[in-house]
Symmetry: C2
Subunit: 126 residues, 2 copies
């Protein structure tokens, strides 16, 4: 099974944080749009992967990661050309918030690393 | 019902993106930890809200928003003092990735705004 975590990358890189509340209208359509956007991203220069989840109430968060801001602009134009934008807004989401952010630091931990993260990793943000 | 979207804020501000895979061990404990962390965040200086969701497989994404990087550091120390960190890692998560990012631009849309977002909003990232 493909990992649902994006591969680790060296900061700085960029993140597009997309939080959205699905309408009840078209669950299948929403899944299709998410797949379309993911497929479009995977073929784009600078794609560093994405993480996505949605709960039973329809609240979803998708974060896609990019090498540069220019890569995000190119992806956006690509998505727009596929006409996903307005359809998505009109039919699949009730509310959404999109943020473009520059990732300055990143930390990961896996159960295989042991129960106590080494000093200087994980939540050690200072 | 309290909105599950963070209130809109003027960039630049900061985001902590926390993607995590829950173990099967302790769903109640995880919910308690999420509530604890959210409660701790709400009492912290610089808190700009948070968005959080988790699917049935246990993959969760929580994004908390902060006025400054210093506010994130202070929150982290506060959480650590509450001893949530190591317990969370040891018992509740199988894998997690944490990223600290500076939000440069933000866009929102609600169904009440109409089906077609005005030019210059939403996905108009350029």
């Amino acid at each position: 099974m493909k990992s649902r975590f994006a591969p680790r990358a060296q900061p700085p890189y960029w993140a597009v944080i997309f939080t959205n509340q699905r309408t009840d209208d078209d669950a299948d359509g929403d899944a299709a749009m998410a797949e379309l956007m993911a497929a479009l991203a995977e073929r784009q220069p600078g794609d560093l992967g994405a993480e996505s989840t949605r709960d039973a109430s329809g609240l979803g968060i998708t974060v896609s990661y990019w090498r540069s801001e220019d890569d995000i602009h190119a992806w956006r134009r690509h998505v727009e050309h596929a006409a996903a934008r307005d359809n998505g807004r009109a039919r699949w989401y009730r509310h959404d918030e999109l943020r473009v952010a520059r990732v300055e630091r990143a930390y990961g931990w896996d159960v295989a690393d042991g129960a106590a993260p080494p000093a200087g990793t994980g939540w050690d943000l200072a």
